[in-house]
Symmetry: C2
Subunit: 216 residues, 2 copies
């Protein structure tokens, strides 16, 4: 982005904070602002009419939030952790895109990355066992919190951005099954849990093997 464009954007920009599990937008709601995530994790969720929930995407800083050129949100957007976003009106972005096609290219690339993530996750939901799903989730979070992942064997610790309930909704399982599989990973010496949220990966090779796939 060119400096005058950044200036233009910043003039219309608002920062906004959301508490964990606060709604950001809901399914079908009209959207007139886009946003970038500055901090925290955002979940995208769909509901069936009888209340079952599936989390269909997680977004991390500095992801873009919103569907360009789509008027409606197609799912609920909620803060998973505490979230800080910086939002701006649709027209501002649309105007910037007109001036600078490169910007649309970058949004297009993010859309493709999200599509890849979604398809990888379809494999997890459709074909993996509960144990493999939970291992895949920990692997997925580890990849996202530790952007500079070392090649092997480094012991890393991080905090899960999702509650057991959200993990269940992401993994297509129940909270009880998630909890049991976490316990098994701990008993197997693959991870350590100082509390329910704080994960230390003790054996990243076996964790990866437990996902049964080079998931991403």
């Amino acid at each position: 982005l060119t400096p005058p464009q950044l200036l233009e954007l910043s003039k219309h920009t608002n920062k906004h904070a959301y508490a964990a599990s606060a709604p950001i937008t809901s399914d079908g709601e009209h959207i007139e602002r886009y946003a970038n995530i500055l901090k925290g994790v955002v979940k995208l969720a769909k509901l069936t009419s009888d209340g079952r929930q599936q989390i269909v995407g997680l977004q991390f800083a500095p992801d873009f939030l919103g569907r360009p050129f789509n008027k409606k949100s197609e799912f609920d957007v909620q803060a998973a952790t505490e979230v800080l976003v910086c939002s701006f009106p649709q027209e501002t972005l649309n105007r910037l895109i007109k001036e600078n096609p490169e910007l649309e290219h970058r949004l297009h690339e993010q859309a493709q990355n999200e599509l890849n993530d979604a398809r990888n996750w379809m494999m997890t939901l459709g074909r993996k066992t509960a144990a493999e799903r939970v291992a895949s989730f920990i692997q997925f979070i580890a990849n996202h919190v530790d952007p500079e992942k070392s090649p092997a064997q480094k012991i890393i610790t991080f905090s899960l951005p999702l509650s057991r309930s959200d993990m269940a909704d992401f993994l297509g399982l129940t909270i009880e099954t998630v909890s049991r599989q976490m316990t098994k990973l701990r008993q197997a010496g693959i991870i350590d849990l100082s509390d329910a949220r704080e994960v230390t990966v003790l054996d990243s090779a076996r964790l990866r093997a437990a996902t049964e796939q080079p998931n991403d």
Copy 2:
């Protein structure tokens, strides 16, 4: 697209036919051509190391095939039915995009539509029962083969583009479970099956109810 651009494109264009279940590209393969589907249905599939398969997307005419600006295919691309595509080199498209940003916009929109489809399907895979998944699949195919879908109660007949085995891989089930659920839908009078592939929707309201969601 402007006439000179269409002419330019057609000069580099090759038509190619694939038999049902013939591979088009495979995971990790280098891609040097893009294509448009002229006829038929294409499936995008991922494999685990131990051979489990998940179909992560279906594409219909006139969808675009290939990941713009990505060098590698991230999954296997296979013909589901007999398929006719029209392919052209990457550079040709990249050149056209440079001249005409509107083209990238359209590809971006397709990517967003595919992302919506993928996320809708994540809900199906993560949270629906076998019966709901099979009903959702029939609904999904009905929507795609009958582009001008009438609002209600019209009885429509179509041919499933997927074998039971492919349906199972799309739905995250086994072929036996798919077969049993098809039988139940038939016995309930919701659909009729003249043979395993030929579906007549007898009661579209109850079919929709059986999907337990406004899936798309």
